[in-house]
Point group: C2
DNA sequence: CGATGAAACCGAAACGTTTCGGTAAGCGGA
DNA sequence: TCCGCTTACCGAAACGTTTCGGTTTCATCG
C-alpha cells in the first residue's frame, strides 16, 4: 500500500537531477561533496532503497550469484556439505551486497536445464558449479555463454575458474596409515559413479594399494547415503573373504556401515576397521568415533565466492587451492586381528 | 559475447509486434492460434529465454522468494532442518518457475536488516520467516510493507500467514511415555532463549510435569549445539541429585549429551534416559539410538511454499498445520533404575 | 579581457519486458 | 448499405535505474 518511493522522489526532494542522485549515492564523479552529503541525507531520511529491478535492467548487473544443486533431497538433508558451503559463500556475499539464488535439480539433467534457464534469463551474474561429473555438459554451456563461473572441487575449463580442496593427500595419508597398521585387505565403498569426487577418491584408494603392491580389495558402489553404507556392510561382511579395513567415500556411508556392522555382530575396529571422508560433526559422536578425513566446506565456499566475485568484476580465470583435507584419527581404526589362514 | 537475443528479435523474425509475442507466449488473449504457434516455434528456434530483468521491472513480479536465515554458521552446518526445509520449498518453486533467494544473517539484528533491504529493494515477491523469536520485529515490518510472507513454526500476524507442524502433541506424548515408565525426576535442556520453538518446547515439558503433579526438574539453557548438550551433561550428571531422564530441545544437544555421558561413565539408558527432538537421520546411528520426536522439515517447506505462492497470487492469509511430529522410540529411554533414597 | 578547461549538474536514451488504448478487418443483423 | 461488435494485432507508455553527451558556471591563465 505505501507506494514505493523511487529515485525521482529523492531527486525532487533534494532539488537535483536523478542522474546526480545516482552519481552521488554510487560514489560517481561529477558531484560536489556538499550535494553528495545532501542527497545522501535526503535518501536516508526518505528511506529510499534502490530498486534492484530497475538497477539490474539498466546496469547489466543483477548482484546475485546462482547455485544449482543437483542432489537427491535425502542426501541434501543429511549431508552437511551444502549447509557449510553456503554458509561460507554467504559470509562473502553479505559484505559484497550480493545475494545467492538457490535452485535444486533432482537429477543431473534437470539441474543442467535449470542452470541453462538461469543463465539465459540473466537472473545471475555468475554461478557456482558443484557435484561436477566427468564430461560435465555444463562447462560447454558456460564457456559458450561466457558467464562467470567457478567449479568447486573439480577442474576448471577454458573459461570456468576452479576452487579445490585437495582430497588426495588426506585420503592417501589415511590409506598409508591403514597399511602401516598392517592392513592388506582394504575394501572401498565408492560414491555415486560419474562424479569427479567419487572417481577421484576411488582412484586414490587404487593408486595407494598399487604403489604398495597390495591386491585391490572389493569395491562396492554406493550413493553417499547411510543406506548405501548399510548395504555395503551386508555385502562385505557376509562374504567368505572379509576385508580387514573398509574405506568409505564419505562419512554418511561409513556411519551406515558402522550401524549395520554392529547389528551383524561385527566389532569395529576389532574385527574390521572403517574410515569415512568429510569430517561431519556427528562422526565424533557415533560409536566408535569415526576416523575420517576432515574437509572444510565453509572455507571452500568462502574462497569460491571470492573468486567468483572477482571474475564477475572482470578478473581473469584462476585455479585456486585451499588448505588440504587432513586425517582425523578417532577410534574406528585399529591393527588387523591376526587370523587363521 | 553472443549478444543476448530479446523479444524484439523474436518479433521481427516472426513478423509480428512485440506485444503479440508477449501475449502469445504468456497465453494472453487477442492472439490467433496460428500466430501463437508460429511465435512459439520462432522463439524456440531462436532459443529465446525472457529476461527476468526486463520482466520483473515491468510486471512487478520478480518470480523469486526470499529466505533470510539467522543462525550461527556452526548450527547451520550440523542441523539438517534447513537443508530439508529448502528441499521441500524448492520442490514447489521448481514447478512454479520461481527461484529462492537465500541470505544468512549471523545475528537476529543483521537478519532483520537484510530482510528489510530485501523487501524494500523489491528483489522478492514474498518471504519465509524462520527462527521466529517472541515479539519478533519482522512482523511489524512485513505488516507495514504488505509483503506476502509466511511464518514457519510460529504464529502468523494480521498480514503474515503461518505454516506449522505441531510440536506439542509429539513432545507431550514423549513426556507421558517417560512418566508412564516411572520417571519422576525429569530435567530439560532448553534451546536458544527467545525463540518461539525453544519456549514452546520448554512450556510443554513444564505443563506435562505440572499436570501430573511432578516437580520441575532442573533446566539447563543451551543453544541447540552438541557442545551445549555436552555442557548440560556436565551440569546435570555431576550434581548431587541426578535426574532419571533428560528431555533435550533438539537432537543435536541430545547427541552431545549422550557422548559426554558415555565419557563420564554414565550409562544410557540404564543410569539416565535421554530424549531428543527433530528426528535427524544420524540419531538412529548414535549409541544408543536416540529416542526422539520426528519432525518433517521437507513437508513443512513444501506447504509453506504453496501457501506463500498462493499469497503472492493475491490469496488470503491462512494458518495451516501439517501432520504432527510423532515419537520415534529407539533405545535411549528405559525405566528408571531403582535407587536408594 | 577573452579564451580555455575543468567541475558540477542536467536531460534523455537505453535496458527488455508487460500492459493498455487504439485501429483495421471481418461479419452478422437491421 | 451501414452500423455495431468482436477478434487480431499494433504502437507506445511505463517500470526505475545507469550512463553518456551536452550545458552552464567559474576560475585560471595568457
Amino acid at each position: 500500500m505505501p507506494k514505493r518511493i523511487s529515485i525521482v522522489d529523492v531527486a525532487r526532494e533534494a532539488g537535483v537531477a536523478i542522474s546526480s542522485v545516482s552519481a552521488a549515492l554510487n560514489g560517481g564523479p561529477g558531484v560536489s561533496e556538499a550535494t553528495r552529503a545532501r542527497v545522501r541525507e535526503t535518501a536516508d531520511r526518505m528511506g529510499w532503497v534502490p530498486s534492484v529491478r530497475g538497477r539490474s535492467l539498466s546496469s547489466k548487473r543483477t548482484r546475485a550469484l546462482g547455485l544449482v544443486v543437483q542432489r537427491q533431497p535425502g542426501v541434501l538433508e543429511a549431508d552437511p556439505f551444502f549447509a557449510g558451503f553456503i554458509g561460507g559463500v554467504e559470509s562473502v556475499l553479505e559484505s559484497a551486497g550480493y545475494a545467492l539464488l538457490l535452485q535444486i535439480g533432482r537429477s543431473a539433467a534437470a539441474g543442467a536445464d535449470r542452470l541453462r534457464r538461469l543463465a539465459l534469463s540473466g537472473a545471475v551474474d555468475g554461478v557456482f558449479l558443484t557435484d561436477v561429473s566427468v564430461e560435465d555438459p555444463r562447462y560447454a554451456l558456460l564457456d559458450h555463454l561466457q558467464l562467470p563461473a567457478v567449479a568447486v572441487n573439480a577442474p576448471g575449463s577454458v573459461w570456468v575458474s576452479s576452487v579445490t580442496q585437495d582430497h588426495r593427500s588426506g585420503l592417501s595419508a589415511l590409506m598409508e596409515h591403514l597399511i602401516a597398521l598392517g592392513h592388506r585387505d582394504i575394501a572401498h565403498v565408492a560414491g555415486t559413479p560419474g562424479l569427479v569426487h567419487s572417481e577421484e577418491r576411488e582412484s586414490v584408494w587404487r593408486c595407494v594399494l598399487e604403489s604398495h603392491g597390495l591386491p585391490l580389495g572389493p569395491v562396492i558402489t554406493g550413493d553417499f547415503t547411510t543406506e548405501a553404507g548399510a548395504r555395503a556392510a551386508d555385502a562385505l561382511l557376509g562374504g567368505s573373504r572379509v576385508p580387514t579395513a573398509v574405506v568409505c567415500a564419505n562419512d554418511l556411508m561409513a556411519i551406515g556401515f558402522l550401524s549395520r556392522a554392529k547389528a551383524l555382530g561385527v566389532g569395529v575396529p576389532d574385527d574390521v576397521s572403517v574410515t569415512g571422508f568429510d569430517g561431519v560433526l556427528l562422526g565424533a559422536h557415533v560409536h566408535p568415533p569415526l576416523t575420517t578425513v576432515m574437509t572444510l566446506p565453509g572455507a571452500l565456499g568462502t574462497r569460491a565466492a571470492e573468486v567468483l566475485l572477482a571474475s564477475v568484476d572482470g578478473g581473469p580465470r584462476v585455479d585456486e587451492t585451499i588448505a588440504p583435507a587432513v586425517v582425523v584419527d578417532r577410534a574406528s581404526v585399529a591393527p588387523p586381528r591376526v587370523r587363521m589362514a
